[in-house]
């Protein structure tokens, strides 16, 4: 068997919705297939107790019997039922790519998944049934984040800055990947930047949750040589508005991308 064909996938197809395995785990009617001989896994939605209407990619799960490899996951995103445990898909996808069991372009894979999954709906203040005060719902993030802030090659690939938080001479940027205009935002990471006379230094704030964001961070770093090159002049002006330039650089900050350490 050709080694390349043995690693085909993962691909996602719709199928028949099967009975839900539990009140808080719903079948999504989507099947993920990969490899040769073909492996497959059904996708489920792990509903949150306090916000069952919310939907997030982080809570898309697979059943333990479909996971053929051991992998790290966040227990808060998993659900134990009498039929076994449902693990977060994102962590499993990251493991499949890490082991080299699949070879499909990460962006194509996530774009296909975005098309098939229900629309993203974050937990909002409207879901807060316990709060007796009628607080105003928090305004939602704009569907399409602003462009022209990240370097051209990054924006062409779909990376966007969704949140800018200046603080103590540095700025934290939430980087997401947008498969298409109006599509869901796949979390890539929080990038902390500091402006110094020699340019911009920065690093990713912790590795974040284990999942496809690690793969996206790697792709981001491939497209952009260093933290100094990831923002356009307009982006620098926008992000560092009101942030004082610091002459002292944090020991953690570097001019080249740091190696992302695996969590132990």
């Amino acid at each position: 068997m050709n080694a390349a064909t043995a690693k085909l996938g993962p691909f996602f197809t719709t199928s028949e919705i099967q009975p839900h395995p539990g009140k808080r785990v719903h079948d999504l009617g989507i099947v993920m297939t990969w490899g040769k001989p073909r492996q497959e896994a059904r996708l489920y939605h792990n509903l949150r107790e306090n916000a069952p209407k919310a939907f997030s990619f982080d809570f898309v799960s697979i059943h333990e019997d479909d996971a053929i490899e051991d992998f790290d996951y966040q227990p808060t995103l998993a659900r134990e039922t009498r039929y076994g445990t449902f693990f977060p898909l994102s962590a499993y996808l990251a493991k499949l790519y890490e082991l080299g069991n699949v070879n499909r372009n990460i962006f194509s894979m996530l774009a296909e998944l975005d098309n098939l999954l229900p629309k993203e709906r974050l937990v909002t203040a409207e879901d807060d049934k316990y709060s007796p005060i009628s607080s105003k719902p928090k305004p939602q993030a704009p569907a399409d984040p602003p462009t022209g802030l990240l370097a051209t090659e990054l924006e062409m690939q779909g990376f966007r800055i969704t949140t800018v938080s200046p603080e103590n001479g540095r700025v934290s940027l939430e980087i997401d990947w947008l498969p298409k205009p109006g599509g869901r935002l796949f979390f890539t990471g929080i990038l902390e930047l500091r402006q110094i006379p020699a340019g911009i230094s920065g690093l990713w704030v912790f590795p974040g949750p284990c999942g496809v964001n690690h793969l996206l961070q790697r792709e981001f770093q491939k497209l952009c040589a260093s933290p100094n090159a990831c923002l356009t002049p307009a982006g620098i002006k926008h992000c560092f508005k009101g942030v004082s330039t610091q002459t002292q650089m944090s020991a953690r900050h570097v001019f080249v991308w740091p190696t992302i350490c695996a969590l132990t």
């Binding site: 009975p19 099947v31 333990e64 019997d65 051991d70 966040q74 227990p75 076994g84 912790f206």
Partner: protein, 223 residues
């Protein structure tokens, strides 16, 4: 007496939670946002983190050990202390979201997929079940190297044959699983068509779904 105290705490907690103003709530959500950013997690989950903290406090009212966040006298002195208590819950949950990594490796058994599907539908005393297990273990002992025998023996003696116990090492357990699958395939007992999970009964209704239709599956459930 203990029940009275618990009731008092619940009432006081409820009062204080009800007294949180919009501004204070916004500050708490901002605090949640800060914690998420600190741990390198998606900031848009701040509202979710705040609501999880409130849920944990409400669960703590029930007084069941190990469930929720339990308020004490210090937290209920006044509103300022109670807000600190909510902040503590937010901090604790954010920490849990980030730090409590777990690996599927920590699970001490794996399911033997083929066997699971075949055995679930049959009664343990059924003659076909007995024949199948007898033949499977006979062939396993014949084909497996001696280092796998303790795992096979433990599996044979276990009450739940759908799970292979981990006695010596995970490597051995996985090797036994692979060998069992190979033997079952040799016995011409293979999967027919698409695999159905255990909770799907043969008579259940399934229907075709489109991407648009899946948008409605996450309806609120009756709890």
């Amino acid at each position: 007496m203990a029940n009275h105290l618990c009731f008092d705490i619940t009432v006081r907690c409820r009062e204080l939670l009800a007294s949180i103003t919009s501004e204070e709530r916004t500050k708490l959500v901002e605090f949640a946002n800060y914690r998420l950013k600190y741990y390198g997690m998606r900031e848009h989950r701040d509202e979710e983190l705040y609501q999880d903290a409130v849920c944990a406090i409400i669960r703590g009212w029930d007084g069941v050990d190990g469930v929720g966040r339990k308020a004490n006298d210090w937290c209920l002195q006044d509103k300022a202390h109670f807000l600190k208590f909510v902040q503590g819950a937010i901090r604790s949950i954010a920490n849990g979201w980030y730090k409590n990594w777990r690996s599927t490796q920590q699970r001490h058994h794996v399911s033997a997929d083929l066997l699971y599907e075949m055995l679930m539908g049959q009664h343990k005393g059924h003659v076909e079940y007995l024949d199948l297990t007898r033949e499977l273990f006979k062939r396993l002992y014949q084909q497996a190297p001696s280092r796998l025998w303790p795992t096979i023996t433990a599996w044979k003696n276990s009450l739940d044959l759908t799970k292979i116990p981990c006695t010596t090492s995970r490597k051995h357990r996985d090797a036994v699983k692979k060998l069992a699958q190979k033997i079952l395939a040799e016995m011409a007992i293979t999967r027919s068509g698409t695999k159905s999970p255990a909770w799907v009964t043969s008579g259940s209704q399934a229907h075709t779904v489109t991407p648009e239709a899946t948008a409605g599956v996450n309806e609120p459930f009756d709890s």
